[in-house]
Amino acid sequence: MSAVPPTRTPGAVPGSHAEVTMAANMRRARRVGFETIVIREFSRIMRIWGQTLVPPVITATLYFIIFGSLIGGRIGQMGGYTYLQYIAPGLIMMSVITNSYGNVVSSFFGAKFGRHIEELLVSPLPSWLIVLGYVAGGMLRGLLVGLIVTIIALFFTRLHVEHLFVVIAAVLLTSVVFALGGFVNAVFAKNFDQITFVPTFILTPMTYLGGVFYSIQMLPEWAQAVSKANPILYMVSAFRYGFLGQSDVDVGFSFAIMTLSVVVLFAACVWLMNKGTGTRE
């Protein structure tokens, strides 16, 4: 009578036809479960579009007008490009970072607060799949907002793409990193103050100081050294390299940091979920 056949009937012979069939059913069930989380997250993004899509678009437009058109014209060129062309990748990446993080932290904490996270916890979906579902939701919003900001940027300047693969890889990895970061924040958060603390007091300063608006080569040596401890610098630099073909740091090293962050954060999220931190008593 159960909808999802058990992974293994007690006494089923390992490797038998019955067990292979059950494994296939389990894969199908997991795929449906993952799709359900992603559809639910996407529906949430679209249902509250006034909170999820409109604010970042307004913010990005103001940045382009003020820093790009008004102030940027007086700054002159940076690395052979206009200031607007230089900061456009940074602004796109900033919106991806903020929204990937913000979606997961608010959605997962909201589910904890409203207790409907229990719908997922009692279901047969494994922890890693629940993490993946929320991360995919965060990526969806981050990339959607990033795309809208890119379109807005095209109203102000021409965007030259030097290495398309680098652009795509950098934005995807960054989105995953910050979606996972939002998940960790939401797991530990006990109230709404704690889900705004990290974005306000840690994420925003790190993003602003991560080379979105300037090249760290403009800074004194000690400040360059400090900046290199900021992981966002590597993400912004790699993304900018994809557009302009120039970067403040080694692009290979940037991708190594992003990949390592994804692996470590994903493992941490799954471990926290399995342990029940913040979700189970």
Binding site: A29, G33, T36, I37, G114, R115, H116, L125
Partner: protein, 320 residues
């Protein structure tokens, strides 16, 4: 096959509270099982552990032969849970809540739609399917949680006080519904504070108190352990003579009501004979409290139950 098996299940919370102190419990497939206990006895903790919402400290849990330690996904697939408190997204429509829950159990959308229609109809919520769940009444929210727990057609359904706070009409319709799905093969475990509910519905009962099982047997066997019952007799008018009933504990709340405590060695005939002799005419009679309620109170209060020792016979008092 055992639908649920708990062995030496223990839970100590971080604050040091020992909620479960080594529980052993078996629920057979197809049973309708009552898990009773006073507030804070450990019922919800036990249910929380079985449904993976609470981490156990030690012990084992198997659901239809699947251990939650080694085959958690399979164990969860067999299980549907109706929690004590509302835990659905109150900003979502009923249809969305059910379709999502079906999806979490791997049920493809077309099948999920059919099941949603079936269960919402069964629970008289189909007309509300496009309503935002926040606007439902308390009884409807309870029924929605039952529909959600059944959307993947679990073999074992656990209901944690499903009728708390709902009116008697809704409660009775829920009883009928639960009886029906139990007859169709779903094993049900019920916790409730309405002991009449447990007595009416359940075939087996376990009483948990201070983290330990203090009673676990067939409902009929447990009820037989009740040594005394108190009956309330309503009289047509005041007694005309003196009532003499040696060995019976009598009280008279007013001149036309008589409460009499009857133990296993006594019988009602003697009471009626004595009442007739005193010129009393009984127009109706009922149990003062539900039998299970009486037993429950005696067990959790640590009073003597079924020990074979009759209560000391007080001198008969004259009624009225």
């Amino acid at each position: 096959m055992k639908a649920l098996s708990l062995r030496q299940l223990c839970k100590t919370y971080n604050n040091g509270v020992q909620a479960l102190k080594g529980i052993d419990l078996d629920v057979e497939e197809g049973d309708f099982f009552a898990l009773l206990g006073p507030n804070g006895a450990g019922k919800s903790t036990a249910i929380g552990i079985v449904s993976s919402l609470v981490n156990k400290s030690s012990g084992t849990v198997t659901v239809f032969g699947h251990s939650i330690d080694t085959e958690l996904e399979a164990a969860k697939s067999c299980l549907g849970v109706v929690p004590q408190e509302i835990n659905f997204n109150q900003f979502e429509k009923l249809s969305t809540i059910l379709l999502n829950q079906a999806g979490f159990y791997g049920i493809p959308r077309p099948v999920a739609r059919e099941r949603m229609e079936y269960w919402l109809n069964q629970l008289q919520l189909w007309d509300k399917r496009e309503t935002i769940s926040r606007s439902l009444s308390g009884g409807m929210k309870r029924r929605l949680m039952i529909a959600r727990a059944l959307i993947h057609e679990p073999q074992l359904l656990i209901l944690d006080e499903p009728t708390a706070g709902v009116d008697i009409e809704v409660r009775r319709s829920m009883w009928e519904f639960l009886r029906r799905i139990n007859e169709q093969g779903t094993t049900i475990i019920l916790t409730t504070h309405y002991l009449e509910e447990a007595e009416n519905l359940c075939r087996h009962i376990a009483i948990i108190d201070e983290g330990r099982i203090i009673e676990n047997d067939r409902m009929s066997t447990v009820l037989r352990k009740l040594h005394t019952e108190t009956f309330v007799l309503n009289l047509r008018g005041p007694l005309r003579g003196t009532l003499s009933l040696p060995g019976y504990r009598l009280t008279a709340p007013d001149e036309t009501t008589l409460e009499v405590e009857v133990n296993k060695e006594q019988n009602l005939n003697e009471i009626f004979v004595a009442l007739s002799a005193a010129g009393g005419e009984v127009v109706s009679m009922r149990n003062k409290s539900n039998r299970l309620e009486e037993l429950f109170m005696r067990l959790v209060e640590g009073r003597d139950v079924g020990s074979g020792q009759p209560t000391a016979p007080p001198a008969a008092q004259a009624g009225a």
